[in-house]
Amino acid sequence: MSRDSHTLEEIRARLFDLSEAQFAELVAYVERAQASDAGRSFSAEALAAMRPRLRVARPQRRPNAERIFCRPFEDLLHDLPAAGKRPGRIARRAIRPAWAVLSRRLDGRLLAAVEREARRAGADAVDWATQSWSSLWNACGEAANALLAEADGDSAARADLRKKLGGADGLAELADMARMMTVAPHVEELRHVLSPAPLTALDEIQTAAVSAQFGALAAEKDTLWGPLAHAVIARMADPVALAHAFGGSDCRDPGLHFLGSAAAGIAVADIDATVAALGGLPAESAPAALDVATHGEAVADRIARLREGLRDRRFAGSFAEIDRVQRGLRTAVSQTVIAGADAAVAGALGEAAGAARAALRENAEARAHALWKCSRFAGAIGMDREVVQAARAVEDAAARIALDRLKALERAGADAAAGAIDAAADDLIHAVRVVELVAGSDKADLLRRRGFDVLDRLRAA
C-alpha cells in the first residue's frame, strides 16, 4: 500500500516530464491494472493523479462499454467540485453511479457483445463508431428514460434512485445523459468534422456540417436541438464565440440561430460556475489569491465580451444576469486578494525568523503578485478604486515598516548590532520587492535608494 502511495506521488511529481509515448505506455499499464481486483483501487487513484495530463494529451484509451456509453457526452464533462447541476455540462463524478444503475437494466447479451468487440478492436480503433455502439446508446437512453419515468410516478422509487445517484444533481445528470444518448449518432457525425476541443471558432465547412445535423433533427427540434447544441458548445473554447456568430436575429439558419442563443445562456452559466468556485476559495491564502487573480482575468475578459455582444445586439440575454456574475467576481477578488493583503505584508516584516520568516515572505510576495495581476483587469469589472487602495495600503505598510526599522537603528547609533543591521537590510530588500509589484519599479527603486543610503551610513559608523 505504501509502495502504491509512493508510486502515486512519483506520478504526480513527474507527470509532465514524461514524453508522449512514455505517458501513453503508463496509461495503458494503469488501465491493465484495472482488470485485477488488487489493482482496481490503485488504478482509479493513479488515473485521478494523471488527470491533468490526460486532459491535455488525450491518449487513446482502451474502449469498454462504460467508456463507449460516455462517448456522446465526453466533451461535456467537467471536474468542478462545487455541487449543483450546470446546464450543458455533466460532472465527471456522476458517471460511475449512473453507469452502475444503467448497466443493471441493460441486456446482458448486448453488453457482452460490446465488450467483446471493444476488446478485439483495442485502443487503436476507437475512432469510428460501430453498429453495436449505436445499439448500446439506444439501450442506455431507453433504460435511463424508463428509470426516470418510474421515479416520476413513485416517490419511493424516486428516493431510491436519488440515493443511488448521490442526490438530486445525480438525477439531473442522468436526465442529461439520456438526452445526449438520443442525439449520439449526430454527435458522432460531427466528431471528426470539428477539431478537438478547445475550438476557437467554426470555419465554413464546420458551420455547414453543424447546420446539416441541426437540419436533420428539425422535425424533433423541441427535444433534440438542445442536446445537439450542448455537444457543439462543449467543443468550443468559449461559447461566446458561437453566440457572437449565430445568436443575432440576422442569422437565417434556424438551427444555427438556436445554437447561438443556447451558447449565450451556457456562457453565462459557465462563468457563473467558475465565479462560484472562486468565491468558495479560502481567504487569507496566497495560493487562493493567485488562483483568483489568474482565473479572474480570464473571467473578466469573458464578461466583457458577453456585455459587448449584448450591447451590439449580437445575441439575446439579460444585462442583470451579467451584472450578477460580475458582482460575484468582485466579491471573490475582494475576499481573497484584497482583504488582508497589507496585513500579510506587514506580518512578513515582523519578528519571525528562520524558515517561518521565509515562508511568510513567500506568502507576502505571492499576495502582492496577485494584487498586481488583479490591477490588470480591475478596470474591466469596476474595481479600480478598491485595487488601487489595497495596493497603496500594501505599499505604505511595506515601505513604512522597513524604513522605520532602519531609522530606529540609526537612532541607536553605535549601539546597533551588526546582526540587526543585516536583518534590517534583509527586510528592506523584501519590502522593495513587494513595493515593486504593487507600485512599480520606479517607486521601489526610490525606496531602495533611501534604504541603502541609511544602510551605508549605519555600516560606516
Binding site: F16, D17, A358, R361, E362, E365, H369, W372, K373, S375, R376, F377, A425, D426, I429, H430, V432, R433, E436, L437, G440, S441, D442, A444, D445, R448
Partner: protein, 382 residues
C-alpha cells in the same frame, strides 16, 4: 538552408579557433548578464570607448538588428526591475567588463535577495561551491607536487582537513621540500604559489578531480546541448530546425575552442615543476588562458538553463529559445544587409519572425509573470 550556409561561412572565417582573432570575436559579443527585466533577457554588456560600458540588445521584436545603448543611460531607454537597476549600478561601480567580474557583480546582487529568496539562496550556494572548488584545486595541486617529489612512495594525499589545521599544513610543507629544491624556492613560497595557482584555476580544477569544476563541466555540457539540438532539429519541420542546427554548429565550435583551452591549462598542471620554476611567466600565461576560456564559454550557462527549461514546456517555447540563442550571436555581415529587397515569400524568410510582448500589453508596465519566470530560471543548478 540559406540561413545555415550563411552562419557556417561566418564561423569559418571569424571563429578561428584558439587564435587571438577568435578571442576578439568572443569579446565583441559582450558578456551575457542575468537581467530579470524580460526585454533585457538576451542583453549583453561590453566595453565601449575608454572605460565606458555599453549594452547590446538583440532579438528585439523578433528583428535581426542589435541595439547598442550606453549602460549609463539604459534606465532612460527601458523600464527596469529594481534588481536590474541595482545590477547596473554594481557593474558600473566595479567597471566590470570581463565575464568573471560581471559574474561576481551578478552574484553580489542576487545574494541580496533582489531576485527573490530562492535566487539568493542559490547565489550563496554558488559562492560556497566556488570556495570549495578553490580549496580542492589547491589540495590537488599540492598532491601533484608531492608525488612528483616522491614518485616511488605511495602515501595518502593531504585532505581538506589537513590543510585546515596548522600542524598538518606544516607537515605538507615539509613534503613539498623536493619540489622547492628543484625550483630553488623556500617550501613556504612553493606552498603560497600553489595556493595562488589553485585560486586562479579554481573554476577549471585539475584533471581527475573528484568533482568536476564549473567551467570544465560547462565545456562538456555545451557538446551535450549541441547533440540535443541536432536531435531536436531532425524532428522539427519549420525553419527553426535550420536555426537549431546553426546553434548546434556554433555550440560545437565553442566546445572545441573550450576543449583546446582546457587542454592548454592542463598542460601547466601536467608539467607542474616547470610551471613552478618559471612562475613569474607561467602565472601570467595561466591567467590569460583562464580569461580566454571564460570568454569562450560566456553566455552558455544561460543558454543551457533556458533550453532545459523550454524542454519541459512546449515545442513553441523551444522554437522561441532556439531563435533567441541564435539572435545573440555576434553581429554578422548579413545582418546589416537591406532586407526590403528580399522576396518575403522565400522559404527561409517566411514566418521566420516571431514578435513577442516584453511588456504587459494592457498597462505597458513590466510583466511580472515574465520576470518571475526569469528569476526561476536561475534557481536550478546546472
Amino acid at each position: 538552408m540559406g540561413l545555415d550556409g550563411v552562419v557556417r561561412s561566418t564561423g569559418a572565417d571569424g571563429g578561428g579557433s584558439g587564435s587571438a582573432g577568435g578571442l576578439v570575436q568572443y569579446q565583441s559579443e559582450g558578456v551575457a548578464v542575468d537581467f530579470t527585466t524580460p526585454i533585457l533577457a538576451n542583453a549583453r554588456i561590453r566595453p565601449s570607448d575608454g572605460d565606458k560600458l555599453e549594452v547590446i540588445l538583440s532579438d528585439l521584436g523578433g528583428g535581426r538588428g542589435h541595439y547598442v545603448i550606453p549602460l549609463r543611460h539604459l534606465e532612460k531607454a527601458v523600464t527596469m526591475t529594481v534588481h536590474d537597476h541595482t545590477l547596473c549600478e554594481e557593474v558600473l561601480h566595479r567597471n566590470a567588463s570581463s565575464p568573471d567580474d560581471i559574474r561576481r557583480a551578478i552574484l553580489t546582487v542576487a545574494k541580496m535577495g533582489l531576485a527573490g529568496q530562492k535566487a539568493a539562496k542559490h547565489a550563496r550556494q554558488t559562492i560556497d561551491d566556488e570556495q570549495n572548488e578553490r580549496m580542492l584545486t589547491t589540495v590537488c595541486l599540492v598532491r601533484l607536487a608531492i608525488t612528483y617529489g616522491d614518485a616511488g612512495a605511495v602515501r595518502a594525499p593531504p585532505t581538506l582537513n589537513d590543510l585546515a589545521t596548522d600542524i598538518a599544513r606544516g607537515q605538507v610543507k615539509v613534503e613539498l621540500a623536493k619540489v622547492a629544491r628543484t625550483a630553488r624556492l623556500s617550501t613556504d613560497a612553493v606552498y603560497n604559489l600553489l595556493e595562488e595557482w589553485g585560486g586562479i584555476i579554481a573554476s577549471v580544477g585539475v584533471p581527475d578531480m573528484p568533482i568536476e569544476c564549473r567551467l570544465r563541466r560547462l565545456g562538456r555540457q555545451v557538446f551535450e546541448l549541441a547533440s540535443q539540438l541536432r536531435q531536436w532539429a531532425d524532428e522539427e519541420i519549420s525553419h527553426v530546425g535550420d536555426r537549431a542546427r546553426a546553434v548546434a554548429d556554433h555550440a560545437v565550435r565553442v566546445g572545441r575552442d573550450a576543449e583546446k583551452r582546457l587542454a592548454a591549462l592542463d598542460t601547466f598542471t601536467d608539467t607542474i615543476v616547470e610551471t613552478v620554476c618559471r612562475w613569474k611567466e607561467s602565472n601570467l600565461e595561466i591567467r590569460a588562458a583562464m580569461d580566454a576560456l571564460a570568454w569562450t564559454l560566456n553566455g552558455w550557462e544561460g543558454n543551457l538553463r533556458r533550453w532545459r527549461e523550454a524542454a519541459q514546456i512546449s515545442r513553441e517555447e523551444q522554437q522561441r529559445v532556439v531563435s533567441a540563442i541564435l539572435a545573440t550571436r555576434p553581429i554578422r555581415a548579413d545582418a546589416a544587409q537591406f532586407d526590403g529587397a528580399n522576396d518575403p515569400a522565400h522559404p527561409a524568410r517566411k514566418g521566420s519572425r516571431k514578435v513577442q510582448a516584453y511588456q504587459d500589453w494592457k498597462t505597458g508596465q513590466i510583466d511580472y509573470d515574465a520576470v518571475r519566470r526569469l528569476e526561476a530560471l536561475r534557481e536550478q543548478a546546472l
